[in-house]
Structure formats: C-alpha cells, structure tokens
C-alpha cells in the first residue's frame, strides 16, 4: 500500500490537471476553445454514444440575435438563409461531417446506413435507410417519406427543384410546375418501406447527386406533409432540436427534440444547449451591442464595419474568423456591349485594385484577394492570377497601363455602362468604386439602384441586359461543378429566365465540352477529374466572365460565456450552435 500511494497521488494529480484544463476551456476565450471539439470526448469509432449526455456543459439557454434570418423555416423552400439552423432540426440520407476544419466537407451517411456505390453506370443509387429514427411527432422515418419529400420539392415555388430534375420523371415535374401537384417520381424513386430501401434512378449521370441529397431540400419530412409552404407552423424534426415557436421578424425558439437519439456523431451529433432563443427583431448594430453587453451569446449577422475596429480591439478573445468559400466578384454580362468584348473584360480585371476592395470589405483578415473562379481550399483549386502586374499565382497590383491599351484596342471607349446595385452600404461602396474605375477607363458610367428583392431577378434575366453588377457565390456543395458548370457554365445558363444562376450569361462550347468530360470522369475516377477541373478553372478565368475580387471569411462575435466554439465549413455549416457550451 505504501508503494501505491505515489501512484494514486500521481493519478489524482493528473485527474485534477485534466479537469482544470477542461474547465479552463469552457470559460476561456473562443480562440482557445476552437481547438477543442466535442468529438474528443468520445472514443474514436464510437458512432452511437451521445457525447453530451453526461457532460457538465449540457443544458442552458443560448441567446442568438439574427436580423438577416432566412425567408422560411420550411427546408423545402428556404434557400441558404436558414440552412445552418435547419441542419440541426432535420436530416437527409447523407450529410457533410459535422466537425470543424476541412473534414467538415466530407460526405457521410446520415439517415442512410452507408454511402451507396452507384450502379448501372452511375445511374442508380440504392440506400438502406436507418431503422428506428423518429420524427418529433413520434412517427418513424420511412423510405417513402424521402420520395414524398422530393416530390413535394417540385410542388413548392422556387428554382430549386432543378437539383433533382435528373431523376427519371423529374424533368416532367419541373417542366410543368402548374401541374406540379400531380408530380409523380414513381419511376425515379423506388421506396420499399418493408425492406427499408430507397432507390434513385437517374436519367443521366450526375457526379454531384449525393452532394445534392445532403442539401436541406432533401431533408426527410413525413409523407403526409402539406405540399404548401409552411409559414409559421414548424414541420416535424428528426435532429436534436425542433422549432417550438416562430414569429417572423420577432423571435424563434428551438428546444430539444424528445424523440432524438444520436445515431451518428459524424452526421448529427447531439447538442449541448437545452434551448436556443433567436431574437429576429434587432438590427446588426443593436445585436452587436447585445453581445457586447452579454445580453446575447451570438450575433448571426455581420458586425457593422465601423464597429469592427473597436470590437476586435476590446474583445479579441470573443472573435472567431473562419474561411468561407464565398467568392465576391463583379459579374460582366458577356452577351451585351461593351462586355461582350473579351478585351474589355480583361481590361477591367487588370485595372481593378483588389487590395483596396479587400480593405473596403474589412481588411485582409476578413477577405483574401482572388483572381480566379474557384476559391482556396476548394476541390481542384490551384492558385492562378493572370490579372495582375506580374501574372503568376498571386495578385500584386493593378495594371492600369495594360488595361488602357486593351480598352483602346477594343474600340468601346465612351460607351454607356450602367452598374446595377442595391441600396445597402456594402454594395453601394463597391459600385461607386467601379463607376469611378470605368470612368477613368473612358466609359460613361452610372448606377441603377434596385431594391434587394428586385435586383437579383433583374440581373438573372438576360432580357434586361444588365451590364455589370456585384455578386457573390457561396457554393451549394463542395464540388467544382457548382462554380464552373452552374455559375459560369452552360448548364446554368437559362436565357430570359429568372431561374438563371449564370449572371454573366457565359457559355463557351469548348469549355463546356471539357466540363462534360470532367463530370463523366468524376464518377468513374474522381482523382483523375481533379486536374481537369483545375484546367477548366483557368480557362474560365482567362475568359473573364467575372472580375473575381476576394474570398470572404466569416467573422463570428460571441459572448464570453460561450465555450467550445466550433465552425463547420460546409454550406449548411458555420458556427455549430449545438456544440457550444453556455454553462
């Protein structure tokens, strides 16, 4: 026993140190806690243990302020705005791994038992659906629910149904939205509730089909869900949280889903807070003050730029900056003068002072200069910058002399150019910069201001012949095609339509042929497709349908009581509020 005493003492000391470290993490700065993840609390490989059940951090109420809340709480309707919240209330067959870091873009099975290997030449995907998963209403999730959910997708308004038009019967549903209520995907989706299998049959290969199934549009809802958009009544949930109440522009409350049992920590981990309250009525300025005073735990909106300096200097430990694949750019309409002329598009790219615009956005910590279409850390990305004084991999300075030569050679000097913009401060300041730049290049530049709700559809519709506007693209899923085939590729170009994501109206047949080849290769040999996409990125960048400006990072400002801040890089990610400790 005498010999055991030092051993016991050492063990107790080690235990004490470990406990103190853990406690320090919970109460310390955000920057420190970002390295500590919930996954470290459980043994690797354990997919079922609920990491939060015995944690002292489990419980409490998190208070969030969010002025820019999305348009809907219906996963079938909301496009991007609330995905980060719907991600913790509902689930699809597959999901991006719910962890911080680049691993967060990895696709993992969610309500499916495993990721399927496509058969029939990439045209058939068969899933085995997990047994025992229940909606918050108590109903069990069945394969037929997924079929009904995708069919419902075609019955709801909005341009998003096209994600699943590749299914057999999908094109017919998409083509007749008025008759959408009769949309039948019986041939495209075969659900067997007894065998718990779900088979998707595609009309043609789609290399990103699994990624599309991870989007909230494909989150399971009970088969008897109304085909009409829900406005304020929350839909049944499968995730760790469910929406208890929602008053648009006022508040929303999320509570624990009593039917939730963690089935995969990678796909849908349990959450720490018991309750999450959203204040939707405050302006970003008011919200920032609330977090500053400790009255709220997190502001989901962007902090007003004039407060960035003071906030970052006073509360550096409450600030978290994480990279985002959000590419800000000026869209150049390649179908209308003067931007139908390659020389003019190249000239504007050469003339743009990207460093000044990064500063205007909030500084180099919040934005990284870019010259190309694909963002850094994205599949197939390789740095490339032809639009600088010394072309190479990075941007150094604008080349006004070259720009002026190109403009002179184009013979377009003196033409009228109208910059389309919205009234918000950020867009206005960028537009004013480009108006001045265009004037200095010899154009008669002016601005047309449209309200935010009007501006995007206006620019989308080629009939309006919008010449230039500021835009950004946040990819729907981490695949090069989402940029190169959809936003600046032929697949996304729908003339005279407001469902056109290709605002530059850019469609080059030669590049498109390479895109088809890359998409085909991605299904059979993903590694071999990587250099193909890199080449397409370069070719498209050279064709200059955009003036790529910078890739914006995400800044989060949280209260000092928030611990274990985790940031997921996927499109449905961001600050993982379920993993945060509020006690």
């Amino acid at each position: 026993m005498r010999y055991l005493r030092p051993v016991i003492c050492s063990f107790l000391l080690a235990l004490l140190v470990t406990t103190l470290t853990a406690c320090g993490g919970s109460s310390s700065a955000t920057g420190e806690t970002t390295t500590e993840t919930t996954t470290t609390e459980t043994a690797p490989g354990d997919q079922t243990t609920d990491v939060t059940l015995d944690s002292p951090h489990r419980g409490g109420t998190m208070k969030v302020v969010w002025n820019g809340f999305g348009s809907s709480i219906d996963p079938g309707v909301d496009y991007d705005g609330n995905w980060t919240l719907l991600r913790i209330t509902n689930d699809g067959l597959v999901a991006w791994k719910r962890v911080s870091g680049q691993d967060g873009n990895t696709l993992v099975p969610n309500l499916a038992e495993e990721l399927p290997i496509p058969t029939n030449g990439g045209l058939t995907y068969t899933f085995k659906v997990r047994k025992g998963v229940k909606f918050s209403t108590g109903q069990e999730v069945k394969p037929s629910d997924f079929k009904a959910t995708i069919e419902r997708q075609f019955k709801l308004p909005g341009p998003v149904a096209s994600f699943y038009a590749v299914l057999l019967g999908g094109a017919a549903c998409e083509a007749s939205p008025a008759a959408g209520k009769k949309c039948d995907l019986g041939k495209g989706i075969i659900a067997d509730d007894n065998a718990m299998t779900l088979t998707f049959k595609l009309k043609h290969q789609d290399a990103d089909f699994l990624q599309k199934l991870a989007l909230p549009f494909a989150y399971a809802l009970p088969a008897d869900t109304s085909p009409k958009e829900t406005s304020v009544t929350p839909l049944p949930a499968t995730g760790p949280y469910m929406i208890e109440s929602y008053k648009p522009n006022v508040e929303m409350v999320m509570v624990r889903n009593p039917e939730f049992t963690q089935w995969s920590r990678d796909a849908q981990p349990n959450g720490y807070p018991d309750r999450i309250e959203f204040n939707l009525a405050l302006t970003p300025n008011e919200g920032t003050t609330q977090v500053e005073n400790g009255d709220a735990d997190w502001i989901a909106d962007q902090i007003p730029t004039d407060r960035l300096g003071a906030i970052s200097e006073k509360y550096p430990e409450q600030i978290a900056i994480n990279p985002n694949p959000q590419v800000y750019h000026m869209v150049l309409n390649t179908q209308v003068p003067p931007f139908d002329n390659l020389k003019v598009r190249q000239a504007l790219n050469y003339a743009t002072d990207r460093k000044a615009l990064v500063q205007l956005w909030g500084g180099p910590k919040l934005a990284e200069v870019t010259c190309q279409i694909l963002p850094p850390n994205f599949p197939s990305y390789k740095p490339y910058c032809p639009w600088t004084k010394n072309p190479g991999e990075t941007w150094t300075a604008p080349d006004l002399a070259k720009a002026k030569k190109l403009i002179a050679a184009s013979g377009t000097k003196g033409m009228k150019v109208v910059v389309i913009g919205t009234p918000d401060e950020s867009t206005t300041s960028f537009d004013l910069y480009f108006i001045d730049l265009l004037k200095s290049l010899g154009y008669d530049a002016s601005r047309k201001t449209l309200q935010s709700s009007v501006e995007y559809p206006y620019v989308q519709d080629s009939a309006n012949k919008a010449q230039i506007s500021r835009s950004y693209w946040y990819p729907d899923y981490p695949a090069p095609a989402d940029f190169l085939d959809i936003v600046v590729g032929c697949s996304g170009y729908h003339p005279n339509s407001t469902a056109n994501p290709n605002l530059s109206m850019f469609c080059d047949p030669a590049i498109d042929a390479k895109t088809r080849a890359a998409l085909a290769k991605q299904i059979t040999d993903p590694a071999a497709a990587v250099p193909l996409w890199t080449e397409i990125d370069r070719l498209t960048t050279d064709a200059a349908p955009w003036v790529p400006l910078f890739v914006a990072s995400r800044l989060d400002f949280v209260s000092p009581r928030i611990g274990n801040f985790q940031y997921n890089p996927s499109v449905v990610g961001g600050f993982m509020i379920e993993s945060a400790w509020v006690q």
Binding site: N285, G309, K365, S429, D436
Partner: protein, 348 residues
C-alpha cells in the same frame, strides 16, 4: 333676348388686389420682422455656401467629393497620411478626420471622400430639388385650383375627385411607391424620357404628391374671391372670363400661394431627404443631405458627424423656411397675425 357681354369702355381698376403699394408695404412689414430677417440671413448663408461648393472642393479641400479615394493619401501637418487607415487589429479601417482643417474638415467617409465638400454639394441638390419641386407644385396646383374653383360644376367635381385619390394616399407611401417603380427604368411619357439618375425624377415625384395639398386651399380661395363685390362688379360690367380669371381672381389668390411657397419648399426638402435616406431619391454618386445621412448611419459609432452635420443642416433650413413663411404670411396678411393673437389670448 340675351345681351352679349362687352368689354367695359374704360379699364378701371376694379379689384382691391395687391397693388405695387401693397407689395411694398408687405416688404416693409417683412423687414421689420426680426425673426424672419434672421432666418433669411441664415438661408442666404446656406444657399451661398452650397453655391460655392465647387470652389471649396477644388481650392480649399482640393478633392473630388464624388470619386472613391480608397488608396489615397493626404498631407496633414507636413506628413503624408492615408485617407483610410487600416485598424491596428487588422479588422476594418478608419477614415481620416475630422481634422477641422483645410483637408477633410469633417473627415472622410468610407469611400475616402471629403464629407464637408459632399455636404456642400449635397445641399445644392437638396435645395434644387426642394425649390424646383415646390415651384412645380405651386404652378400646377394654382392652375388646377383656379380652373376648378372658377369653372365649378362638373369640371370642379372631376378635378377634385381625381385629386382626392392622390390625397387618399399617405404622402410618403405614395412618394416611395412612385420612386421605387420609376427608379427601375426612369420615366418615359411619349418623347419625354427622364433618366433614373436625373434630379428631375425626385423633383417630379415630390411635386406631384404635394399638388392636392396646395390646390385645395387655392380652390377655396378662388371660390371666396369669386363671391367678392369687385368680381361681381366686373361681371356686371361685362368682363370676359379670361380677364376675370387673370385680372381679378389670380392677383387676389397669389398672396396665399406666396405664403404657402416657403412652407412647401421646407416640406419638399424634407421629403427629398427622406427619399434619399431610403436610397430612392437622389442617386449615388450624386449627393444630397438625405444620402449623406444615409451614408453616415453605418458610421454612427465612429463617425457621428457624417450623419449629424447634414441632419443639422436639414433641421436649420426647415426651421428657417418655416419662420420665414410665417413672416411672409404676417407681412401679406396682417389680419392673420391679429387673429392669431386673439386666439392665443382666448385660449389662455
């Protein structure tokens, strides 16, 4: 057997409408009104300052207040400093000033533009829109009021039911609706086309929405004047309608319009500021006091002067115009002052 109206043999001054002597008396009364004179001086200073905006921008501030100056530098106290300085934390940036000196007297905005120079230019736009819209409103409203009140009957009913429709809309709602829709494509009526960026667009919109508010009292005045003895005497002497309208009625209605005019200018400036603040009035890169208040609302924490300075100028101008309007009314209609005093005495 009807008797055709004939022109009177001798053109006698029938109406007691304002004569040269009446105007001179009014000016004398206005001069004696210290408050009105003080506000007139304030207005003259404001107008002169805004007229000198180009001189201030080019000679004093030596800057173009309509061009972005994101990477620019300026010499202050012998050393060259950036107009926009990145914050030490690396997040955000701080525009220069206010220096209360030659360059960037009130500081720079987020685009690196001189706020003081922009306020002077902005004042020009606000005053031009305010005065032009008020003039247009008074012209249209006087015409409509004269026509409706003098003609009466169906014409009066039709005109005023049409104006009632405009009246039924809250002013700002109507102005916002018109601005939002017209800003998309501009205004096109036949060969007349107004560019969405033109100052003419807010002038027209503001003028149109205020017409009923001036036309109604003008019509009331016309109806009252028509009943006066001198008008009846003119009719009895066989005066023609045109003569009645322009020689008897209009001169007696005009003082009311002149009294309303400064008040309408004030209201038009306020409306322009509101529309521009909402980004549907004067369009960037042009500036008005409303657009500058809007520019400054995102800098209230670090740069409150950007909003406060044009806001104060709007307030001072409106106050001055209102006091001047009161002075003009008292000068043209001294009985109104007596009536007001009596009412105050009764109320107290």
């Amino acid at each position: 057997m009807g008797v055709a109206p004939t022109e009177p043999a001798i053109d006698l001054p029938l109406s007691p409408g304002p004569s040269r002597g009446t105007w001179a008396t009014a000016v004398r009364r206005l001069r004696r009104d210290r408050a009105a004179m003080a506000t007139l001086v304030v207005l003259v200073v404001i107008v002169t300052s805004t007229l000198l905006a180009p001189v201030y921008a080019s000679r004093v501030a030596q800057t173009d207040p309509f061009r972005s100056n994101l990477s620019g530098t300026v010499e202050i106290d012998g050393s060259r400093v950036p107009v926009i300085r990145p914050n030490p934390s690396g997040l955000g940036s701080t525009p220069i000033g206010p220096t209360f000196g030659r360059h960037f007297f009130l500081g720079a905005d987020t685009q690196g533009r001189d706020v003081a120079a922009r306020i002077l230019y902005g004042g020009r736009a606000s005053l031009i829109v305010g005065v032009a819209a008020a003039l247009l409103t008074c012209l249209i409203a006087t015409g409509i009021g004269l026509l409706a009140g003098f003609t009466g009957g169906t014409t009066d009913a039709v005109i005023f039911r049409a104006l009632d429709i405009v009246w039924a809309f809250p002013i700002y709602l109507l102005a916002i609706a018109l601005s939002t829709s017209l800003l998309v494509q501009g205004l096109k009526i036949g060969p007349v086309a107004v560019d969405p960026n033109s100052l003419l667009l807010p002038i027209l919109i503001i003028a149109v929405v205020f017409v009923p508010y001036v036309a109604r009292p003008v019509r009331g005045e016309v109806l009252a004047v028509r009943q006066r003895e001198y008008v009846e005497a003119a009719i009895a002497q066989g005066a023609r309608r045109r003569r009645l309208l322009f020689k008897e009625v209009l001169p007696n209605v005009l003082p009311s319009v002149i009294v309303i005019f400064p008040l309408i200018i004030a209201t038009c400036i306020l409306t322009e500021s509101a529309l521009s603040f909402l980004s549907i009035g004067v369009q960037p890169p042009q500036a008005s006091w409303g657009t500058i208040v809007n520019d400054g609302q995102n800098q209230l924490y670090t740069r409150p002067l950007v909003s406060i300075a044009p806001g104060l100028l709007i307030a001072v101008t409106i106050l001055a115009l209102n006091v001047l309007g009161d002075g003009v009314r008292d000068a043209l209609d001294p009985r109104a002052k007596i009536r007001r005093r009596k009412r105050r005495a009764r109320d107290s």
